[in-house]
Amino acid sequence: MDQSVTLKIDGRDVTVPAGTTVLEAARMAGIEIPSLCNHARLLPAGLCRLCLVEIEKVRGLQPACASIVREGMVVHTDTPAVQHNRRMVLELLCTNHPLDCPVCDAAGDCRLQDYVFRYGRTTSRFVEEKRRKGKAIRLGPAVILDQERCVLCQRCVRFCEEVLDDRQLAVFQRGASSRISTMPGAVFDSRFSGNVVDLCPVGALTDRTFRFKARNWELTGLPSVCALCPVGCRMTEEGREGRLLRVRGREAPEVNDGWLCDLGRTGYGFTEHPNRLRHPLVRRDGHLEPASWDEALTALARGFGAVIEKAGPRAVAVLGSPRLTNETAYLLTRLARALGTGNVDYRLGTAAPAPAQATLSDLRQAEVILLFQGDPSEEAPILELWVKQAVKRGGRLYIVHPRTLALERYATGAYRPRPGSEAVLIAGILSMLEQGKPGSLPLEWREAVSGLGPTQVASLTGCDREAIRLLAEALVGSPRAIIAYGAGLRDEQTLALVAALAKATGARLLGWDGGPNSRGVADMGLLPDRLPGRAPLADAAATAALERLWQAPLSCQPGLSATELWPEMRRGEVRALYVAGADPVTQAPNPQLVEEALAHATFVAMQEAFLTPTAERFAHVVLPAAVPGEEDGSLTNLAGGVGWQRALIAPLGEARPSWRIVADVAKALAAPGAWEYADAAQVLAEIAQAIPAYAGVEVVTTGGYFDARYEYEYALTDQPPAAPAPARVAGTGDLALTTGPVLFDRDIMARHAPGVVGRAAEAFAAIHPEDAERLGITDGAPIEVRGLFGALTLKARVSGACAQGTVFVPEELSELSVNRLGAQPGVVVMVEVKPLAVRPD
């Protein structure tokens, strides 16, 4: 492929790599050949016949999109015959095309419109009745189809086939009656369905959330980064008159390559949700009442000031969230450390992701992928496409997950260890590696796993011994192996084991959790035992550098993690809490404890875009924060790529960008150091100084890619590796609880986006058919799931995808928070499931 070929196009010598199509070669040379069906990311189809060109010594006109360049080829793209063909094809396309450009969403961004204008006839010779087909057909939740406008380029069909490998769309009937449709009765509900709108060269497929809101020429766009999941897709925000109206994918081969999932595309409606907080709120006589920023900040300064004066700075805790931008997280860290407290964290029942070792391009080209405890389809959708692509290229996929994933049909091996025994499985592989090749493990791990024999691992995990051996061999045998762990991995002990496995096999690590910017927030040092850049607190050089930069003495004592915080707060050791973007009452693993602790707190301040249950019940001051689309800021994606999120519109009402709120709070609290920043870019510049791995990151206005991957020389946890054992069991029920995010109802933002509301299933609990039969549960019936701290009433979904002996309850589905059941890292919760009698009413 590294050979190049020289050909002549319109008298110009063009040198391109062998295997390029004539169309692509012409494009590289700056010569436009019109085409409707050709698309750089889809295979050539040769359907529209608009790209026909003359190639010397070849009889007849040839499709440029499907002709591969040859040495010495002579191509003419502008001869009378070619022009005649273009005119004819366009005229024929227009015979049945409704000339309804004034009401068509594509007008102004329509290939057919452009080509007819440039190459077509000015008047039509067609006087007959136009063929009538379906109008405004609702193909699915995100896409509307107008069959009359369709030019049958089949880009949408090919996208479903080639990229999704899910043939939801097809061409039906023949000749002039051909039409695109779903299978009869089926719904085009792919998570990626919106991409066909971007692909459609005309206005046949339109975006349901955007439909008719503005014309293409009225929109202003900014290159930005999606802030809704850990992939951080590169996208373009488009809007008009202070409203964010449309989000489209942007070319970025290193991240999403132009595709977007429907959450990113249709999930930004929260910007104008009526429940958004518009003013600061201050609690007076037990009620939160609107106040001015000055009043709110004064109340906040008084509240925190009193606690610090009485009980010292260590009675203050800061809780962030993985939804924060790097700038906000960095300033929060700085604020906490400058105030003199180390009680700073963002993990509510998750582990801080290890720095990535692989890029997303590596994932697309991986030979072996071990997908550990992660479901890309729900947690980081674009990865689903990349895993499929890797398998298509001949890669092998191994899945370790408590449920049957949609990706399982691509898997070479699927492992369903007993809940809580995932760590044992990894340790078993490690011990197998050590047995196969002594000395391949670091010493401390050798000792930790030495006691685990293959038989013991097999009996503890319930996985086949031989299958485990195959997995170990696959990982060792490939130079392009990737271990991808997902949101199901919640405890640092297992993460350390996975990291050790990556080290021992030479596989590269890639991981994510449910939060969109977990990696960035962890990098910014929003952790009780780390400094920015994840340097340990004991690192004197890093501390000194930060003290110089911040012009303030640092509190370098390890603080309380978000898990340790609540008991201390209940005891009255921690009295004031600042929460940014988190909702501990619904997210923390032990809601009872959290509620008691918050009730004991002297002062709680929160910054949030919506009034969360925590804010409503416990906050003394609530500061309204801007949402993605309204604030600048950088986000670090799961592969360490830093992207710059742009503010297209101004924050709603009196809301302020979250980083600015933190700076304002710091000023109100008179925290040491300088807190004057003109914009988020200045904060980013300071981050570049503070964190070595981010040195050189700067605001690239085009939203470019900065690689902040770095070697992580510190141990993932401070605890020495312990012999992995099955996780502790809590609860008295007989089914093990598994949880995980659901894409369209993943957090408070998705719940406030009209475009995705209703796409997630009604709150459900999935249960294996045999368990269901034993308990007398039928599909769709209401059931009660009773866990450690209460019960949830859910709709039963009897499904073989759920392993026997487990019950799956989605996280945060429709605000029913699964934390009532007590799901927590490193513990298997046994829940009680019973059918509820259906009341006659």
């Binding site: 309804d100 004034p102 009401v103 109008k135 439909r211 008719f212 809101k213 020429w217 009225e218």
Partner: protein, 142 residues
């Protein structure tokens, strides 16, 4: 001789005007005559069945040299139908203070929805009042 003739001719014109009706119109007591191609305030037309002609294509806004027009489209539903087809104007605003009555909007309109009508009394007490919304611009039903 010639001079006298010229003088008489001049006086003839004067005398003739003396008996003519005055051309001054006693506005506002008396309404002026509006010529058919006069360009006054915009009117959004309706079809015979009462539905709005405007489909919110936004071409008037795009053609407007002063940016006096703002249009925002939306989709007709079964329950609420404003125009034929799928699209209607949710918002249609004309800022009379910006409008120069060039008539480009009328010229560019693909459905003949916007026309410059005969209303010329466009003074308002406030700037905000000079922004007319769709309801003010629409021709009455029937």
């Amino acid at each position: 001789m010639d001079a006298i003739f010229q003088m008489v001719r001049g006086l003839w014109v004067t005398c003739k005007r003396l008996v003519w009706r005055p051309v001054t119109v006693q506005y506002p007591e008396q309404r002026p005559q509006i010529y058919p191609r006069f360009r006054g305030r915009h009117v959004l037309g309706r079809h015979e069945d009462g539905l709005e002609k405007c489909v919110a294509c936004g071409l008037c806004a795009a053609a407007c040299p002063t940016g006096a027009i703002y249009v925002e489209g939306a989709e007709n539903t079964e329950a609420e139908r404003y125009s034929h087809g799928e699209r209607y104007a949710r918002l249609y605003q004309v800022n009379l203070l910006r409008c120069i009555f060039c008539g480009f909007c009328q010229e560019v309109c693909p459905t003949g929805a916007v026309t410059l009508g005969s209303e010329f009394e466009l003074a308002r007490y406030s700037r905000a009042d000079a922004i007319l919304c769709k309801e003010q611009l629409l021709a009455p039903k029937g």
